[in-house]
Amino acid sequence: MDTTCYHCGTPCEKDAIAFDAKIFCCNGCKTVYEILNQNELSCYYDFEKSPGSIPKELKGKYDYLDNQEIINKLVEFSDGKTTVVSFYIPHMHCSSCIWILENLDKLNGAITHGIVNFPNKTFRVTFNTETITIKELVTLLSAIGYEPYISLESLEVGKKKVDRTLLYQLVIAAFAFGNVMLMSFPEYVQSHGYWLDKYKPLFRLLMLLYSIPVVFYSAKSYLVSAYKGLRNGILNIDVPISLGILVLFFRSIYDVVTGVGQGYFDSLTGLVFFLLVGKYFQQQTYNFLSFERDYKSYFPIAVTTIEKGKELIKQIYDVKAGNRLLIRNGELLPVDGILISDKALIDYSFVTGERNPILKNNGDPLFAGGKQLGDAIEMDATKSVENSYLTQMWSNAVFDKSNTKDFKSLTDRVSQYFTFVILIVALLAAVYWYFHDIKLIFPVVSAILIVACPCALALAAPFALGNTIRLFGKTGFYLKNTQVVERMTHLTTLIFDKTGTLTSTEASVINYKGRTLSKDEKQMVKSVLRASNHPLSRRIYKEFSDVATVALSDFEEQLGSGIKAYFNTTAIRIGTASFVGAKQVNEKKNTVVYIAIDNEFVGQFEFKNNYRAGLEAVFSKLAKDYKLVVLSGDNDGEKKYLQSILPDGVELLFNQKPQDKLDYVAQLQEQGENVMMLGDGLNDAGALAQSDVGIALAEDINVFSPACDAIFDAKQFENLPAFISKSKKTSKIIILSFIFSFLYNIVGLSFAIVGDLSPIIAAILMPLSSISIVFFVTILTNRINKN
């Protein structure tokens, strides 16, 4: 659909709202339109009446919010009366959403005020617990279309503190840099004079004082990292930087104390300032995305248990083996268990990627992660949450955060040799001056170490990569950190999940085969479908959008088989082949729904996966440079079709369980392959974590995606080869800028070796090299992302 919201202009997707002959993207926009247009407040009263119009599926859904223990974990502050709580609301997407949420106090007097943080999609609300409970508040939010997402994760992350150290370090360096520049300037323009001579010692002392916090606070992380590197025998980029900083500092103190000169305090503070700017730039994060999600963000916080015939809300972690659980329509099974109810229809798409629900009978084992469709069921838990089949995967070492894949960035690899060369040069210069003028050894060696400080080298990568992920982010490819760009340049194998990754989740294509239905028959079929909640019924129902419905009698739904109803005396059956009495003709193993009217088979609906646009082009482009694999949790029904559209040599593997996928990636890595995995569901989570670059493909980036290195907007799928080649170009830019910064170093060294590095040359050369490198990489990265 290419309609845009009348109010905010964003494209309306599947849940567009038609009102007053206009289309709105959300209730917020619609509401604001109403208010602005009518200039009356009638809509507020509509909202106050809204408790009566809460959609049925909300009933009972938030019962767990009556549990005081859970409430205590959720709220940020409470004095028994005034309570502050933050909600994560994934649905907010435009300025009207902010408006309506922040004016919530007008809808309900118990709410004092609310503040939206749009980039984080959080809503912090202060309310009076005496007049509105947290459950009522959540229900109110859901009723107006802003359902808060409350999961196990929100209990844990809620009170996390923001680390602002880097910003403080940066600001202190900037403060010192500015002041030191001011103080050092007089000596640059005038070497002698009455006033200068009189105040020189004071200025120098002040500069020294300003530099102390810069070295010991702002530059702390460099010193610590260099120390750690050296202790592990690694010459990382922070070693020459720290060496430069320390030499600058102590040489300057020496100069000032002995009265030789004014020292290099301006270069020192400037260096630290520029380095921190680079670091800050690199720290680009997408607040509204999370790359660290595990099952906790999928699972609800609480579940209804039945004890002695009474319903009782229990926190998920308190569920033990033997507990009887009540799972309502659409709820996730939190633990493994055994079905007690007669029948259940479980959608395991989270776990396996297979989208069609599976019928389970009394006594069948159920696995955590499935979603119940249809009536509420009862089950007995056989395991606790952490020990369930799906959650157990997270205890795999892959998900251990300490298990960082050892990856050496380009900068670190270059700096190894760089540090080594600089030390050799310094040593040679020392030997030379030992024989010529022994007094010059200290000034020359310290000048070499100062000028060799790889400021430009250290800035090239952060700016190039930081700018690249920023530009990628604008086009729908969100990287977790800058390292991912570098990893993407080393890939040898690309692995794709099938369902949800190569196919789009939304529109499975339906083919109808059989005799043409008359208008009356269409009406009957539609009416039967309307009464069913099965996802396949809902999907076919949409096909009959312009058909009227009729009244039916004796409706009957048999889970896992089909639905049956009568229109007057005509019996209509829709369902499996055996249910309607049709012959099973299904070579491709597609999902098929059969229809019979008056016991006579009339036709069948075939579901076919809808592959993403540009799939063939993407594969044929990538096949030239990479080994390609399709790993699917599904059956091999589409194998032939895939083989026909994909280039030769693409490996196709089916019936892969989550653990199989992980093992397959690990096995490739052992053979020395660098693996990129593209997946979408929780079933790919293990493989995504194991691979060198794990990319989660998402139709809607605000919906949850499993832990990964990058989140990729599905609409951009056809640009995947372009993104990979852009990363490679970025890598080349970094190498080019390294060459540039070496040239600067050679110029600087030529001054230093002969003992001519005056503070003013250092003060010009160091910022000049840094700034020009930053310009250079920024312009080039912008250019490659334009084309």
Binding site: I35, L36, N39, E40, L41, S95, I98, W99, E102, N103, K106, I115, V116, N117, F118, P119, N120, V162, R164, L167, Y168, V171, I172, F175, G178, N179, L182, W195, K198, Y199, L202, L206
Partner: protein, 59 residues
């Protein structure tokens, strides 16, 4: 020429005051969300109007 000490002292105090103010504003969370306030300030007019109407309606 004692004035130079005064000037340096004043310049330091002013700079340090700004530094402290900046820290204070960062700590208060002002820089955590730099987008929403830019939208929120555009709402103010509509809000005032609605408030007035609210009162009128109640009267």
């Amino acid at each position: 020429m004692g004035i130079i000490f005064l000037l340096i002292g004043v310049s330091f105090i002013i700079a340090a005051a700004f530094l402290l103010l900046f820290f204070k504003s960062v700590k208060s969370g002002q820089y955590d969300d730099t987008y929403t306030p830019s939208v929120r300030m555009l709402f103010d007019d509509e809000l005032v109007k609605d408030n007035n109407q609210n009162k009128n309606n109640q009267n």
